[in-house]
């Protein structure tokens, strides 16, 4: 349980990144994404995309911009305030409305489960269960939801018009939420017969779904493709979200290193790379806006104003080793800048980082200059079925 942190691991150069990575610009499976200041105009390291939803089976559609692209969650969630369509409510067989309390490390989102056709690039998934967050016409947040973490049910608290969860799982909960209550069901889903709601079991196919695996083709996973940014950062960066792995000429795995995941969707990070601590709960997550790691590192002070980030007196370089369940291993160099000294006109940074205990969260800085594959569980690729990450 207890591991000792070594004191090596510095490298002379933090940014090892890569030769310029090729970014797909056209194709039926290519969705434009951008790292910019987001709907509130102040978001550092948020990668956003527009999402088109339609009333199922109709051409009654709406495009919602400013949706966060998140490889650390699964399923589409949209703020009620951003949705003008009237979407069908999911109900039980007896007609009772279903809602969800979706959990994130920094809060929960509460709201009804509804069905929509989801269109991204030229791909379409039909009648996908999605979550509508913060619907004022729906039951208020139950205490068994708001006691988990802080509700993020407004644009101000969510900082995006929605979250597009395209991580390595098909559903946001899976088998566990289909169990009877009291038998291991975590109570993420609710039945709301009136203004009060009660935790309930939810069949796997009814749960909020990662829309990508429901596409008729290009449904094996996604590639997040973002160009490198320099030490000063950039005001905005354009890239692509490519659907499918090994399904088209623009999404072949090729020689990318494949890191398989455990059943929780994690791999191992050893930090510092040389003689460091092993963190088996590590993950790659485009929805985390920094690299979050290393509370054991005494050389990185927390910021006094920029809550949750590091503020070293000058930019420092580190390295850590990522290890897949399949034994694939790679050492990654990275830099940590003073979060309070970053150029306030810029919103894309590869050196934004903060403290995090007992895990290594490879957030958006890791994606700049790399094409990062996320393969969905049980979906077949040339490297075997997901879940895995590759780059």
């Amino acid at each position: 349980m207890l591991t000792i942190v070594g004191c090596g691991g510095r490298t002379s150069s933090g940014r090892s990144n890569p030769n310029s990575n090729p970014i797909a610009t056209s194709g039926a499976n290519v969705q434009p994404i951008a790292v910019n200041s987001g709907p509130l105009g102040n978001y550092a390291n948020g990668v956003f995309t527009p999402v088109t939803i339609c009333v199922p089976g109709t051409s009654n559609c709406q495009t919602i911009s400013g949706v966060l692209v998140d490889t650390g969650s699964y399923g589409l969630r949209l703020l009620s305030s951003a949705v003008s369509l009237s979407l069908p409510q999911q109900t039980t067989a007896l007609g009772t409305p279903i809602a969800e309390c979706a959990q994130f490390s920094d809060g929960v989102t509460w709201g009804p489960v509804k069905a929509a056709d989801v269109k991204l690039a030229s791909e379409q998934a039909n009648s996908v269960p999605i979550q509508i967050i913060g619907d004022p016409k729906f039951s208020a947040v139950p205490s068994s939801c708001s006691s988990k973490a802080t509700p993020m049910d407004t644009l101000q608290t969510l900082a995006a018009n929605g979250i597009l969860g395209v991580g390595p799982f098909r559903q946001d909960c899976g088998d566990q939420c289909a169990l009877p209550m009291g038998a291991g069901n975590p109570g993420v889903y609710f039945q709301c017969p009136s203004s009060t709601c009660a935790q309930t079991q939810e069949p796997v196919t009814q749960q909020v779904q990662n829309p990508v695996w429901l596409f008729p083709q290009d449904n094996t996973g996604v590639i997040v493709e973002l160009p490198a940014v320099g030490p000063a950062g950039a005001p905005s960066v354009n890239g692509s979200l490519v659907f499918g792995i090994d399904t088209q000429s623009n999404n072949a795995l090729g020689s990318a290193k494949v890191f398989t995941l455990n059943s929780s969707g994690n791999f191992t990070t050893i930090y510092p790379a040389s003689g460091g601590t092993s963190y088996p709960n590590s993950f790659i997550d485009s929805g985390s806006n920094g690299l979050f790691f290393g509370t054991a590192t005494p050389t990185l002070p927390a910021c006094s104003k920029a809550t949750g980030f590091y503020c070293p007196s000058s930019t420092q370089n580190f390295s850590a080793t990522q290890q897949g369940g399949n034994g694939t291993s790679n050492t990654v160099n990275f830099s940590v800048a003073n979060a309070e000294s970053l150029n306030s006109n810029n919103f894309a940074f590869d050196d934004l980082a903060g403290p995090n205990a007992n895990t290594f969260d490879w957030g958006l800085p890791f994606f700049f200059g790399r094409n990062v594959f996320t393969a969905i569980e049980s979906q077949p690729t040339s490297a075997g079925a997901g879940p895995f990450w590759a780059y």
Binding site: A149, M152, Q176, D285, T307, G308, P355
Partner: protein
Amino acid sequence: MCAFQADSAPIPFVTCRLIAIIYTPSGGYALTTYCESECIERQSEQKPPNFIRLIRDVRQMKIIIRSKGNFTTWKMSLVGVVFAMLIISLPAFAELGGDEASVETDQVHMEGMRRIARASAYSVHEIQAPTGSVVREYVSPAGKVFAVAWEGPVLPDLQQVLGPYFDRLAQARNNRNGRGPLVIHEPGLVVHSGGHMRAFVGRAYLPDMLPAGVEVESIH
């Protein structure tokens, strides 16, 4: 009082309800169970079970204790699981900064283990819910919960675990730019809530209440 069972005694293959397990910093462990209405305590200075895993099965739940490389199965009734869940839901048990005396009120049968706790720098009360989420509570010799840690596919009830400090999460969320793990770094309170959907990990501690010699990194 509970009957004390030596470490060398065979593990009974009967229906047992797990009440609590404590991992001591010296590397040993102690646990209390009810086996067919008889309260049994075991303690050992040996390496503790690596973990206890509840297997999801509606009719028959089992606790598997992995000890010294051998697998031994304790059948566990559904009632037992519910009982274990009850313990985790007792507000007094799981509150950061709370008093261990409340545990005594709620669970008089933990007396033996509490002695072990007081003999060491601190004790760790580990409870695993059937959801797979684990909460560990760190209790000082003075009987105060000075730290909590959590891990699992869903968040624990953080309001219960963090007690009066829960409301600080909303403030931290509002102060934070963008999305990512939630951090509170203050002289009197440190919280790290991280991980991702289907795999959360976090901890919280009160720096002023850390017993002497406790390494922060051992809270996990």
